[in-house]
């Protein structure tokens, strides 16, 4: 397995180098045909009439420029003025951690985009604007209270030969399978929470070595992500991938294995060095969790995971000072009922959505919310997604797959190539392969290696959305600012901070010198357009949420 991976990787590297040389024409993916701005005007009241654009309005302050228009009876004879660039969007100066409460500031496109970037995988074109019209509470509920099962909207993922991906068999296709859900699912927070829980209960297929078990585990996360954490913990404890990963199946009455008992306290429920548990508790809790077993099938690998009473330690155990002949379910219960659990839970969940630590007052309010709702995840999650710190606090770095999926969503790009798995890996995140049991390090997403990966992700998305340089189709007279506007439109008008927008405009002005030959006027403008698309996406604003 390991070796197959290495050789495959090599093959892909070769292909990537080859690809660099040739300009590929875009493959058939649906074009980004519905830009967010300007929004379509209402239909004329009494056709036939003509739309006459007389100017542009950027007063909404949401990074969009809307047309000012009137309906006229005869075709307009004047050309509308060029659309100005949207105003830059400097975020408000981040505020210190605020008391527990509900955000009450404006909830426009920019705030809705932050919500979709952090509680999903970024907006599809126009989605942030649409969501903002619901208002904060309804917008959050639309994410936290989805109805029915998820729909995957758009074409199903295929490899470069047009064949369906094979997540159970082909290396990297498990990653593609999930990335596709991130791109296409209409229940974005379910997928995002599954990713949060994949990091929380970080399990790697490096040891499990069976994609089906990993995918099953991710489905467990999807089903359980808003419900009771206690029930989730029980389901994780008996989850086959976890039983293999942290040696639950090796943990028997006669040979207790502490691996799961230690991590379940240190990483999943209580936290290290908080005085929540002792080494004795680790040993005793391991005894509670004894009893799991499985069979090895030469064809299928690990099968028939089950609880076997004769492997369970049926003597008294003392955990957190409570003595009894505890079962494995008792073990889970004892962890969740540990007085240090609730504060661990709310702070850990918070950290996935808001980069600054919550105020003490917020921790205590979230803790009561959690315990008074029988350890339900949804009420805490909703409170976090509506908290003022979410909208008024500092930016956070998008995890690599979120960055990639958000580029693909913004451009309506779908999976038609295997390349996305190694690109994600280069950017620092291979789904189902977290670096270790404590998950990915959210403070270290960006370095020179992973930034290069993000650059290549962008280039590969633009494989389907770049201007053709050599077919002489590009506008030979395009001016620098309209060029920036066109590039922004490709990414659905991401709000840019002033200094970044200014730099991009400066580049557009200076991208090439004057006095070009005719063919250069066309080709260089197309090259500039592609450079602008690249720069906007790899710049800091689109790497942050």
């Amino acid at each position: 397995m390991a070796i197959a991976q290495a050789s495959k990787k090599h093959k892909h590297k070769k292909r990537r180098k080859k690809r660099k040389k040739k300009h590929r024409s875009p493959v058939a993916t649906p074009p980004a045909s519905t830009p967010a701005a300007p929004p379509p005007p209402p239909p004329p009241p009494d056709p036939p009439r003509y739309l006459h654009v007389t100017g542009w309005d950027d007063s909404a302050g949401d990074g969009l420029v809307r047309p000012v228009y009137e309906w006229v009876d005869s075709p307009p004879t004047d050309t509308p003025p060029p659309r100005p660039l949207p105003k830059p969007q400097d975020p408000p100066a981040p505020k210190a951690a605020q008391p527990f409460g509900v955000y009450s500031g404006p909830f426009g496109r920019v705030q809705a985009k932050r919500l979709l970037d952090r509680a999903g995988f970024g907006p599809k074109p126009g989605q942030a604007l649409d969501l903002s019209k619901k208002g904060l509470r309804a917008a959050v509920y639309s994410l936290t209270r989805p109805s029915g099962s998820a729909n995957l909207v758009g074409p199903a993922p295929v490899d470069e030969d047009g064949l369906p991906i094979a997540p159970l068999d082909a290396w990297g296709h498990d990653h593609l399978w999930w990335l596709d859900r991130m791109i296409r699912s209409d229940q974005q927070l379910v997928e995002r929470m599954a990713l949060v829980l994949h990091d929380w209960f970080a399990t790697s297929n490096d040891k499990v070595d069976k994609a089906q078990l990993m995918i099953n585990q991710s489905n467990l996360f999807r089903l359980s992500c808003f419900g009771s954490f206690r029930t989730l913990l029980e389901n994780v404890t008996k989850d086959p991938a976890m039983l293999l990963w942290l040696d639950g199946v090796e943990n028997t009455r006669n040979h207790p294995n502490e691996n799961y008992a230690r991590e379940v306290q240190e990483l999943f429920t209580l936290g290290a060095d908080r005085g929540a548990y002792t080494e004795d508790d680790v040993r005793e809790l391991a005894r509670c969790f004894t009893g799991w077993d499985y069979d090895w099938d030469d064809n299928l690998g690990p099968v028939n995971f089950r609880y076997v009473d004769s492997r369970h330690d049926n003597k008294n155990k003392t955990v957190y000072g409570q003595t009894g002949n505890w079962t494995w379910q008792d073990g889970c219960r004892l962890c969740v009922e540990n007085p240090m659990h609730a504060s661990f839970f709310v702070k850990k969940l918070w950290s996935y959505f808001i980069p600054q630590a919550p105020s003490a007052d917020t921790v205590s309010a979230l803790t009561s919310l959690y315990t008074s709702n029988s350890y339900a995840i949804r009420p805490v999650l909703e409170a976090i997604l509506m908290h003022p710190d979410f909208y008024e606090g500092p930016a956070m770095v998008k995890p690599p797959v979120v960055f990639l999926a958000s580029l693909m969503r913004a451009t309506r790009t779908f999976i038609t190539d295997e390349k996305w798995y190694w690109l994600s890996r280069d950017a620092g995140q291979m789904l189902f392969y977290p670096p270790n049991v404590s998950g990915w390090d959210d403070n270290r997403w960006l370095d020179t290696n992973t930034m290069r990966g993000r650059w290549l992700c962008t280039t590969e998305v633009l494989d389907y959305h770049h201007a053709e340089v050599w077919d002489e189709s590009y506008d030979p007279a395009e001016q620098p600012e309209p060029a920036v506007d066109k590039a922004l439109e490709v990414w659905d008008y991401p709000p840019l901070r002033k200094e970044q927008q200014d730099e991009v405009v400066r580049f557009s002005n200076d991208a090439f010198p004057g006095g070009l030959a005719n063919w250069q006027k066309i080709a260089y403008r197309a090259l500039r357009q592609n450079a602008l698309r690249q720069l906007i996406a790899v710049g800091p604003d689109m790497n942050l949420a």
């Binding site: 197959a4 290495a6 040891k207 991590e263 930016a395 670096p435 370095d447 260089y524 710049g539 942050l544």
Partner: protein, 455 residues
């Protein structure tokens, strides 16, 4: 691909565990009873892009000095006079079909389907014949640039890939050491701030290079840091201006820790991209000799380029092409993998010669064991004594230890060894690298030396 013909489950499983162990840090997976932990398990791994070296490095070591110090260390380290390159035939290469005793009827009895139909004469022993795939190695042998160990091993051979490889990696015949023999060499002669002194070309650090404390590094590829875009056209200034604008985006003011992180990563990425010219487009003087589409070619030609610009590499490790655990379909697998490996080594030697580096570099090629003389049908199972080669201008060119023959085998019906890998290590250390083997190889005092190995 490498182990496509491997049916031994302990092998893939041990490989898996080894990888997991190297990556996991905390939360190590359980190691099965009796399996030694790979040397270096638990070494911290820190990644950075070295501008002075022009390489993306993963640095391993117990030292906690800041990564920035490595830049200065690499820039200021002296060019070492001698370099040792280790190439590992992963899985146990079949010595008896690389240098085959074609005149021995017992060979044909033991190998009714796998016996080589013909071979190329071996000038030092009229009864042995090179596998045709080793023709390029034979050419170098004809130039006195290859020392052959036809039956290297150790007493009480262990037949587990994992354990026997571990012995070779740590340089002693018992489990438990957590440093490699080359790592201990680096510890003796290396510095605290030059991770290039010991490098693994490939994804991860070879346990051979695990040091007690000094930094060593792994690099995936020497040409791996390219950033390309759809703004690329050789005559147009657009892409170059875009890169400089990208760098500018890294130097703007920040409003949050996340923004600071993004700006810094962007700024450094552009700096590194700009300074990686040395290797992103290096050309080998003998580029057409290297086998195409072979990782080993990229690694060896890249290493030659690194040595060519004077980077302070003392020891480099890598794996031969493909896998050699040929329990089945040996004829095809060995033919293909051996040829590409030998051709890549041949090209590397010519590359060094063309660059004027040949007197500084010696290559050691080894495997964890040989294979069972008696075939199992389409392949061979784990054996005992195996092959090693030492290649280079200063290789003695004389066979070390003769071929033991097939008339007498060991108690498991495996080839007897006529040389000891620890003696080879002692000789390489003393006669090539110029250090006392005593502090590096346990029991060095009582091991024989092979003075003919080096000239």
């Amino acid at each position: 691909m490498a182990h496509d013909h491997c049916h031994c489950r302990d092998y893939t499983r041990s490989e898996l565990i080894r990888r997991a162990a190297a990556q996991a840090g905390q939360g190590l997976p359980a190691i099965e009873n009796g399996m030694p932990l790979p040397a270096g398990t638990g070494l911290s791994r820190r990644s950075f892009l070295s501008r002075s070296a022009g390489l993306a490095l993963a640095v391993y070591g117990a030292t906690r000095i800041p990564l920035a110090a490595f830049e200065a260390g690499i820039a200021h380290a002296a060019t070492p006079p001698k370099v040792l390159v280790s190439i590992f035939f992963d899985g146990g290469i079949d010595a008896l079909n690389v240098l085959a005793p074609l005149n021995d009827s017992r060979y044909h009895d033991l190998r009714p389907t796998l016996a080589l139909p013909s071979g190329l004469g071996f000038s030092e022993d009229p009864d042995l014949f090179w596998h045709p795939s080793a023709a390029s190695l034979r050419t170098l042998h004809g130039e006195d640039k290859v020392s052959v160990f036809p039956a290297i091993g150790y007493t009480s051979p262990n037949h587990s890939h994992f354990t026997s490889r571990h012995y070779y990696e740590i340089g002693e015949v018992q489990v438990g050491a957590n440093t490699g023999w080359l790592g201990r060499y680096i510890e003796e002669v290396g510095s605290d701030d030059n991770p290039l002194q010991g490098i693994s070309l490939g994804n991860e650090l070879s346990p051979m290079l695990a040091t007690p404390s000094r930094p060593v590094a792994a690099i995936e590829s020497v040409t791996d840091y390219d950033l390309w875009s759809w703004a690329d056209h050789e005559d147009a200034p657009v892409q170059a201006n875009m890169f400089s604008s990208f760098g500018n985006l890294g130097n703007l003011p920040s409003d949050s820790p996340a923004m600071t992180q993004a700006r810094r990563a962007i700024g450094q990425t552009e700096q590194v991209r700009e300074q990686l010219g040395a290797f992103s487009d290096y050309t080998s003087p003998v580029a057409n000799l290297y086998p195409k589409n072979t990782g080993l070619s990229d690694q060896l030609s890249g290493l030659a380029a690194m040595l060519g610009v004077g980077l302070p590499v003392q020891v480099a490790t890598m794996s031969a092409v493909g896998g050699y655990d040929t329990h089945e379909d040996e004829a095809n697998t060995l033919t293909s993998n051996l040829k590409r490996t030998c051709d890549a080594v041949f090209a590397f030697q010519r590359d060094l010669e063309a660059r004027g580096l040949a007197d500084r570099v010696l290559i050691e090629m080894w495997s964890e064991f040989g294979r069972r003389p008696e075939e199992n049908g389409g392949g061979t199972d784990h054996g005992a004594a195996g092959l090693a080669f030492v290649v280079g201008q200063h290789a003695g060119g004389t066979m070390i230890g003769g071929f033991p023959g097939l008339a007498t085998l060991d108690e498991d019906d495996n080839l007897l060894h006529t040389s000891d890998f620890r003696s080879m290590y002692c000789t390489l250390l003393e006669n090539w690298l110029g250090v006392d083997a005593g502090p590096i190889i346990p029991g060095a005092d009582s091991l024989p030396r092979y003075p003919a190995l080096i000239d």
